[in-house]
Every structure is written in structure tokens, then in C-alpha cells.
Amino acid sequence: MKFKRFFSQIYLTLIFIFLYAPIAVLIVFSFNSGKGSRFDGFSLRWYEELFQSEMILDALWNTLFIAVTSALIATIIGLISCIGISALKGKPKAVYMALNNIPMLNSELVTGLSLMLVFAAFGLTAGYPTILIAHITFNIPYVILSIMPRLRQTNKSTYEAAIDLGASPTYAFYKVVLPELMPGIFSGFLLAFTMSLDDFIITYFTRGAGINTLSTLIYSEVRKGIKPTINALSTIMFVSVLLLLFFINRPKKATNEIL
């Protein structure tokens, strides 16, 4: 039994190393004084350059703006639709859910390409709006899949009780149903935000002139040889998320409810 525990400990460690080794490399190299793949010495040079690079800061801004906005809109649309879906039955519901699943099954490649074609056909100039529409489109299914199970679990009788006690349906919804859905809504938002933040393929096909997110910027830089300024930025982002999670997790084990 001891042997077994020892073995599983090793296994966990190995997977952990596998997942985090590249991240460690990126962080270490953000402090490299040189540019190449050899560590020449410690320096904060790339951090200084980062705050002077308009291109990277613009890309960071675009990435965050698109991620937050698309996740927010997707959450709102997703929530409204979930309530609508719950009133659907039988065939219409099945068709609706099948349509909703298309972007998830379809692979980002086909989703991105088909959206690019449709924007061109509608005469939409590629820019912020096209990227946003694309991100919202692939975010909504994740939101719906996060909220739907919660909605199914909610207790109908409390809602009905509230109505019987004289609450208007809207009021009853806000006071009774919405709080119960909150963890689902929040996890949907978080999931959508993360997907959007990490997306490359869909942005790549739908972006317009001069609009880069971090992903597309990195993709074009990879070809010319990446500068460690991007590593510096990623390190800062990673550490801030880590700290944020740490603090959210500390006071109450509420993250259980999030995912």
C-alpha cells in the first residue's frame, strides 16, 4: 500500500512537471539578459522593454477587451437562451441543442474559416466587430453547457411559492432562480473568458488590419524569432492569475461551486 502511494505521488509529480515545464522555461527566459535560447544572465531588460512596446501593450489590451466583452455578452445571451430552452420540449429542443453544439464539434478551424467567409459575403470589414462576433459565437455554447445543468436542478416549487406569495414572475426570477444559477453563470463566464483569452485560430481568420491579440502577435513573431518581451508579459499575466486564484481560494472553499 505504501508502495502504491509512493508510485502515485511520483506519477502526479511527473504529470505536473510535464504541464508546467514549458511555463517554467518561459518564466526563466523572461529574465534572460540575452535574446537567444541560451541563458546569459539575469536581467529585467525585457520587462523594461515591455512597457515601452506599444505593439505588445495594444495586443494585451485587445486580448483582454475582446475576452471580457465577448464573455459578458455570451453569458447574457446564454442565460436568456437557457431559460428559453427550458421551456422548449421534444424535437425543437433537440434541434436547438444540436445547433448549439455545432461550434464545439466543428473544430475551431472550420468555425473560423466559415465565419471569415460569411463576413466577407455580408460585406463586413474585418475588425473589432468581426472578432467579437466570432468569439461570442464560440463562447455561447460553453455558457449554455455550464448553466443548463444548474437550471435543471433548481427547485421549481420555490419559484412557484414566491409567485403564490405575490411576487411578479420577474421579481421571483431575480430573487429565487437567479441566485441558484449564479455558480453556473459564473463558471460559464470564466470558461468563456478563458477560451477567448487563449484562442488563436478563430481570431487569426477573423481579425482585421492592424488588430492583433496576443495570440496573433505571437504567431507572427514566432516566424521572425520571438523576443523575450512576450515572455515577460506572459509571466506577469500568469503570476497575477495565480495570485488572484490563491486569494479567491483562501478565505472560503467556494471555488468548489464554480466548476
Binding site: 518561459l26 428559453g84 445547433l99 455561447i140 496576443l214 514566432v222 506572459s234 481560494n249
Partner: protein, 271 residues
């Protein structure tokens, strides 16, 4: 109560505009030539040597990647379950956290690790083991795929395993089943929905990737994703690109249908 139904319409319109019409457009381009006349050549083009080779390679690599992910993730999910970590959110966060560091950058970091003169070579040379860079080979691409998609396998497995009713497992051992029997007869069948959704979430992106092969394949290896992407971005032939996309979609749908036969309840949602 029926008024609620109408709440589903805004998204329905959205889906028609940005999911259904785009797909119809792919269908339209897929069945036309540059001058707009009907053809099925863009579909049959999948049988040309360059395309079928790329599709077979993609299938082979993505299947292998899915199997490796499953073999790595299942024991891991079992260990995590048995550890009774309790804080499910925390465990999940550990596997989602890497996603906050850009996906391209993480993959690019592997290049730093694996390439000639990279970190692994230097570690190997310290202990005098010869090292041949795997960049530009199938191995590098598999590694990149497993690295990127492993969390998508771990999460649904972990989810389904932790939700499993302990009493069923205890009952089995009370009735005399050894741990191997319990696993085969009880745990494995009950975790099937998790396996199914894990497979889906790993197989589809790895079948269609073009970025991982671009970064780690030294552009020597053409996957079907690369072929399609380049039809659009380099050859400026959206007709052929769309035709090949249609074929790819058929492959995905067929494999989904196949896999979903094992998930009759459709409960295998990852999140």
C-alpha cells in the same frame, strides 16, 4: 409559462446567422469552382495523394494522441479521486491554469526545450547521452498535441469519477470482487460518459490542428489542417479549402456518432 419560449429566439437568430449560414457557405464554395459553376472535384480532391496522405497522417496522429491522453489521464484522475482532495475546484484550476499562459507561447516553449542546442540537449550532454532533436518528426507533434489537450481529458474523467457513488464500489468489494474486478466491472463502465467526452474534446482539436504542426513540425509535416489553412491563406482557393473542410467535417461527425453510441445518456459533460 409559454412566453419563456420566446427567450430562446435571439440566440436562434444568432445561430442561424453565424453558425448555419456560414456552414451553408462552406457547402456552397465546396461545390463550386472559381468561376462559380458546380463541381464535385473539391470533394473528390481528398483522394489526391497529397491530401489523402495528410488526412491519414492527421488521423493517425490524433488517434495516437487521444490514446496517450486517455492512458495518462485515467490513472491520474483515479489518483486524484482517491486522494480525496475535496477541493475539486482547486484540482481543476491546476489544469486550467496553464491555459492562461498563451497556447502558442507554451507550444513555442517546447521548441526551446527540444530543439538543437535546446535545454534538453544540454541536460543530456551533461550526463553524456547523445540527443537527436525530435523537432520536425511525428514525435514532436504528438508531444505538442498531448501537452495541449491533456487537460481536456483529465477534467471530464475527474468529474465523472468523483461523482461516482462510493456505495456501489463498496458493495462490489463487499460481495467479494477484488480491486481489479471492481475496476473492470464497476468503475470503468460507470466512467464511460467521462471517457467519451474526453475523447471528443481531445480528438477533434488534434485532428484539425495546424498550429502545432507548424510550430513543432519544422513545416516538414503537413496535416489536413495545414492543407486547408493554406488553401485559404496561401493558394487563395477557398473552393478547394471548403471542399476539404466538408470532408473533414464528415469525418468528425462520423467519429462522434461512433463514440456517442457508448454514451447513451449524454451525461458526459466536462463542465
Amino acid at each position: 409559462m409559454n412566453k419563456k419560449k420566446w427567450l430562446s429566439t435571439p440566440y436562434l437568430i444568432w445561430m442561424i446567422a453565424f453558425t448555419v449560414i456560414p456552414l451553408l457557405l462552406i457547402g456552397y464554395y465546396g461545390f463550386t469552382t472559381r468561376d462559380g459553376s458546380f463541381t464535385i472535384q473539391n470533394i473528390t480532391a481528398i483522394f489526391s495523394p497529397a491530401h489523402s496522405k495528410a488526412l491519414l497522417k492527421s488521423l493517425y496522429l490524433s488517434l495516437l494522441c487521444t490514446v496517450v491522453c486517455l492512458l495518462l489521464a485515467y490513472p491520474l484522475a483515479l489518483i486524484l479521486k482517491n486522494k480525496n482532495v475535496g477541493q475539486g475546484g482547486f484540482v481543476i484550476m491546476i489544469f486550467i491554469l496553464p491555459m492562461w499562459m498563451n497556447f502558442l507561447l507554451r507550444t513555442y516553449a517546447w521548441l526551446n526545450l527540444l530543439d538543437d542546442g535546446g535545454i534538453i540537449e544540454r541536460i543530456f550532454s551533461l550526463v553524456n547521452i547523445p540527443y537527436q532533436s525530435i523537432i520536425g518528426t511525428d514525435a514532436a507533434i504528438i508531444l505538442g498535441m498531448v501537452y495541449n489537450f491533456l487537460p481536456f481529458m483529465i477534467l471530464p474523467l475527474f468529474n465523472v469519477l468523483t461523482k461516482m457513488d462510493e456505495n456501489v464500489i463498496n458493495a462490489a468489494s463487499d460481495l467479494g470482487a477484488n480491486s481489479f474486478q471492481t475496476f473492470i466491472k464497476i468503475i470503468l463502465p460507470l466512467s464511460l460518459p467521462g471517457i467519451v467526452s474526453g475523447i471528443t474534446m481531445v480528438f477533434v482539436p488534434s485532428l484539425t490542428t495546424f498550429v502545432i504542426s507548424d510550430l513543432l513540425g519544422a513545416r516538414k509535416i503537413m496535416l489536413i489542417g495545414n492543407i486547408i489553412e493554406q488553401e485559404f491563406s496561401i493558394a487563395d482557393n477557398r473552393h478547394l479549402g471548403s471542399g476539404l473542410s466538408l470532408v473533414l467535417m464528415i469525418f468528425i461527425l462520423a467519429s462522434m456518432a461512433l463514440i456517442n453510441r457508448y454514451d447513451k445518456n449524454g451525461e458526459g459533460n466536462a463542465f
